[in-house]
Amino acid sequence: MLLEYIAIGVLLFLATAVAAIAIFLGELFGPKRKSDKKAQPYESGMLPIGPGTRRMPVRFYLIAVLFILFDIEIVFFLPWAVVFRQLGLFGLIEMIIFIGILLVGYIYAWKKGALEWE
């Protein structure tokens, strides 16, 4: 069984090599005529104002946390789906309780406007 993961390791190595070679080819054959104008960050032709990184809306944080929570839920779903036939009705009820509790949070998020994007 471990062997199959080694096969993936081989694929990982070769895929990285191909990507690195592609970039290397570009660096090798591409012209190199650097100028200050070219090295400026692109801002639709205007002179860049202020630093590139700045504080971003907190909404992205909210989305990321909600994503983690539901992602964990999905990870629980996968083994449940595999053994569902053995678990039968019992399994269905288990999962309904689990999701029922989470749904409370989901509805709360909806009502509070956490899923809204302004």
């Binding site: 694929l11 191909v18 990184t53 779903f77 569902f84």
Partner: protein, 371 residues
């Protein structure tokens, strides 16, 4: 562990990588040709017969382009980001079976790089890694458009990954296994899962469009609004790698969709002639790819707030409902009568119509009320 095994791994891996590279090149041609035909144009027709040499011309052109690096960029991550974007895509394809196992030189060879018993989880985990390339590309460019675009694109990806993950649960429930080979063989006896779970397949396809960042969810490519977002600052081969990642992802996702919902390599005569398997799978991939291109030619881009609302408020609850509908159907089929399995498509169609009818309408009405 013997030498033959190592050769098998290397050959399979190289085969997959070069299939994806060639597929990427000709998918660009296929897309441009199909889009042109839909818009009653000719499309590329200068380089070679039917413009068939166009992808090669494009590749040569990109190699000879200047690689620009903005002065304020983080040099290491700026180079790393395109690699991190493209490698997971190639990894994702590793578990897709291309046909039944074949006998060659006295060895049994599986027609996939690695047929893991946790295949579907593997796909979701690699898909979740793919977000990094986009975030890092945006951040390392040190460009306002790029950072904002990268954040938006990654927020979109993670939002639709949820609906996608739940859509993955459906074939697992039906097949009772996470191994992609088992899912395919189960479809040989039960029929394609798209027949049993049509709404699930639809959600899968919609969510993958958003996951790849294809039209109508192509925020990452919104040139007018975000000046190409996270890859604004990229040029030459580094840009080509982002482009490659998108198109290879289309191919890989279509291969996965075909395997999970459309019978994979199954087709008439595969039992007798195993070499038909890859041909059938390829044919299914091409049909699904055409669907994606068709969607791009038909639908205008969706606004960002609506896109997030669709993902979180429509697709997520619908997919959740479908999981329970499917589970219920399986229970009834086991307890009462195998024919009860057909309650699944019926109920899921009801669920789908309900979701679109109730939630979509409520959202739209709210938007009118706000104005």
């Amino acid at each position: 562990m013997d030498a033959a095994l190592i050769w098998e791994w290397v050959i399979k891996a190289l085969f997959l990588i070069f299939f994806l590279l060639g597929g990427f090149a000709y998918l660009t041609w296929y897309e441009r040709k199909a889009l042109a035909r839909i818009q009653v144009r000719y499309g590329p027709n200068r380089a070679g017969p039917y413009g068939l040499l166009q992808p090669i011309a494009d590749a040569v052109k990109l190699i000879f382009k200047e690689e620009l690096t903005p002065s304020m960029a983080d040099k290491v991550i700026f180079i790393l980001a395109p690699i991190v974007t493209v490698v997971p895509v190639m990894l994702m394809a590793a578990t897709v079976p291309w046909g039944p196992p074949i006998q060659l030189f006295g060895r049994t060879i599986n027609m996939s790089v690695a047929d893991l018993n946790v295949g579907v989880l593997y796909i979701t985990s690699i898909a979740s890694i793919a977000v990094y390339g986009i975030v890092l590309a945006g951040w390392s460019s040190n460009n306002k458009y790029a950072i904002l675009g990268g954040l938006r694109a990654s927020a979109q990806m993670v939002s639709y990954e949820l609906a996608l993950g739940l859509a993955f649960v459906l074939p697992i429930l039906l097949a009772g296994s996470m191994r992609l080979m088992d899912i395919v063989t189960k479809q040989a006896e039960m029929g394609w899962f798209v027949l049993i779970q049509p709404v699930g397949a639809l959600i899968f396809l919609i969510a993958t469009l958003a996951e790849i960042g294809r039209a109508p969810f192509d925020m990452p490519d919104a040139e007018q609004e975000l000046s190409s977002s996270y890859h604004s600052e990229y040029s030459g081969m580094k840009f080509a790698l982002f482009f490659m990642a998108e198109y290879e992802k289309m191919i890989v996702i279509c291969a996965i969709a075909a395997t999970l919902f459309f019978g994979g390599f199954l087709g008439p005569g595969v039992d007798k002639w195993p070499w038909l398997g890859p041909i059938y799978l390829l044919a299914k991939i091409i049909v699904l790819l055409f669907l994606m291109i068709w969607v791009r030619a038909t639908f205008p881009r969706i606004r960002y707030d609506r896109l997030m609302a669709l993902g979180w408020k429509v697709l997520l609850p619908t997919a959740l409902g479908l999981v329970f509908v499917t589970a219920l159907g399986i229970l009834l089929a086991e307890a009462v009568n195998p024919a009860m399995l057909w309650i699944i498509p019926l109920l899921s169609l009801v669920a789908g119509v309900l979701a679109v009818g109730v939630i979509e309408r409520a959202l739209r009405r709210k938007e009118y009320a706000r104005r």
